[in-house]
Amino acid sequence: MKIAVKQISKEQEELVAVYCHEVSDEVREIVGFVKSLQGQLTGSMDGREYEIAITDIYYVESVDNRTYLYAANKVYETKMKLYELENTLGNKRFMRASKSVILNLMKVRSIKPAMNGRFTAVLQSGEEIIISRKYVPDLKEKIRGGK
């Protein structure tokens, strides 16, 4: 796929266009990535596609090479990979909580200790997410800002 970037004047509206022979998974991933930069993610549920505001997502989980977005009471599947979402959401109040989960810190109600030096994040929805001790220093860095 060729890539073209063209600089335009301030008066013109910025646009990202994909010219393709068919709307493949790869194209959907590109579209999803661009939307994520604008604060939205595309997720599918029951065969339909939805636009989900990043701020509505509680956490993202990767299970068997599939990636799921968990909102208050809905679960969407996304074409994006966990590492792609980590790159996109990493500077937007999200952090990696374990090998398979990215957590929205704005949706965490409290933190409590878990077994073997880990911590549990209790979400506003009541769900509990394990924070691996590998990522605890990242959590501290993120919420304390290096203090």
């Binding site: 933190i111 409590k112 590998k134 993120k142 919420i143």
Partner: protein, 146 residues
């Protein structure tokens, strides 16, 4: 878990074990050998037991996050190793008489109590850290909303 984190935890456990070993030696000694008198070298015993106590902790080291079942199995093996090491040192090297079954049981129970108390202390420390993290998190959320 990185080697650095593992070392930090082992160090923390070492000092907790040393403290409880002091307590155990005091309790067991008062019961079974109240007349015994020691020199300055006796101060080294809890430190040596502390080192021996953290050695089986190597079993808990893993590059990946252990599952609950893995943790339980490794903890059980760790306890068996710990009891074996302590019996070997106390009765084999230190030359404690093993005729009195109360001493045998007393040592085994002491090791078990310390083994249970160490993670409880860890839990208390982690609880305090979790409380601080929650406070910092709520502050972070407040700042981000503004």
């Amino acid at each position: 878990m990185s080697g650095k984190e593992f070392f930090r935890e082992v160090t923390r456990d070492f000092f907790v074990i040393v403290t409880f070993c002091n307590l155990a030696v005091f309790v067991l000694g008062s019961i079974f050998k109240p007349e015994a008198r020691f020199g300055y070298e006796a101060f080294l015993s809890p430190l040596i037991y502390g080192v021996l106590g953290v050695l089986p902790g190597v079993l808990m080291y893993s590059n990946h996050e252990l599952k609950i079942r893995e943790v339980i199995v490794r903890k059980a093996i760790q306890l068996v190793f710990l009891e074996a090491i302590m019996y070997l040192v106390v009765f084999g090297i230190d030359g404690m008489k093993k005729e009195d079954p109360r001493v045998l049981v007393g040592l085994g129970v002491s090791v078990l109590i310390i083994y249970v108390l160490v993670p409880i202390i860890d839990w208390i420390i982690d609880s305090r850290e979790a409380k601080q993290l929650t406070e910092d998190l709520l502050e972070f959320q407040k700042n981000e909303k503004e």
